[in-house]
Symmetry: C2
Subunit: 207 residues, 2 copies
């Protein structure tokens, strides 16, 4: 998967990302990372000054991965209905490729909100977007149910993200394997897309 001549710094970051996402900050030892990267454990401190610094770097990358695509979408000049659909599709794709991204971010943020506030600052930009204005306009025009955009955004995010946050539990409760879970998630996506759109865009409102 990796090209042969990958810089040591990148190798360390790749390994750290894998291990941190799997075990979290507290559950990860610097030796874990060194082993996963195939390097001497002192090298980690040579490139990144400490476990904490390396973690901050990874956490920042993960927040960017989480939010940049969504930020791009909420500000794109497309119709509300299309935007909501694309927002959900994008999240779903992202989570299928990185199933433990959300549990990682949410958990680390829960453990240490102060330490990570700066890093997650981009989350603040989500509410202040074109999306918000579009919602207000649509409400004024009677196209959608009157409801604050924060709630809509929360619905969009929760129904997809929680699927993956609870992945191990769902697999256990339903006795699914990886493929079975993916099928369930894919089907669920369609249902929640319908549910949210039907809730917002009521026929009696648009008529």
């Amino acid at each position: 998967m990796k090209c042969i001549s990958e810089s040591t710094e990148e190798r360390i970051k790749e390994a750290a990302k894998t291990v941190f996402l799997e075990k979290g900050f507290d559950g990860t030892t610097t030796r874990d990372i060194a082993k996963a990267a195939g390097i001497n454990s002192a090298l980690m401190n040579y490139y990144f000054r400490s476990k904490e610094k390396l973690f901050q770097s990874i956490f920042n990358d993960m927040c960017t991965l989480m939010f940049e695509g969504m930020l791009d979408l909420v500000n794109r000049p497309i119709s509300l209905r299309d935007k909501i659909s694309k927002l959900m599709d994008h999240q779903f794709q992202m989570m299928m490729q990185n199933p433990n991204l959300t549990i990682f971010i949410m958990n680390e943020l829960h453990r240490n909100p102060e330490r990570l506030y700066a890093t997650v600052g981009m989350a603040k930009k989500l509410p202040e977007s074109i999306f918000h204005q579009q919602i207000e306009d649509a409400i004024a025009q009677g196209i959608i149910t009157p409801i604050d955009s924060h709630h809509i955004m929360t619905m969009i995010i929760a129904n997809i993200q929680f699927l993956f946050v609870s992945k191990p539990m769902t697999m256990l409760a339903q006795g699914l394997d990886e493929a079975g879970f993916n099928a369930f998630a894919t089907r669920h996506m369609e249902y929640v897309k319908d549910m949210i759109c039907e809730y917002l865009f009521k026929p009696e409102l648009s008529s």
Copy 2:
């Protein structure tokens, strides 16, 4: 809050619950627990043989707290509409009292699925309930949209649980304090109850 003559064992469990829920298994030291319980750290090993055993005990309690009320509800002989509403109310109450219950369980399960599978076994009982049969009946009678009960249960759970899983992020993104978050969550509850019920119980189906 605690009565004066509380058994040492209970004091330790109370403290361990608080610390484990806050910091997780990896982030918690036995000294943390001892300090929180106001005891010598060797006492923990006297009552519970190890940190691992104590954790298992707490984790089991938390799973029970999470699922027993819901299991009771899904099997109660009440109407589907009432049941869905009560399921959501119950979860909401539970999470208001224990906001980090879900992130704790989901995270520990993610870190160590095998170790905790036995403990979470009760989650398996959720799908095999009267609720499931009620859904199938309602679909057969054309009262609700045809959809597998797993998906309905997931919608019910996700829309509430994720509110609390993402609590720190929501507070940051919207600049809310504790009271502000609670107000947001309470309002959101009403929206998602409406959304789910409207999605399932379509007027054209019941007529």
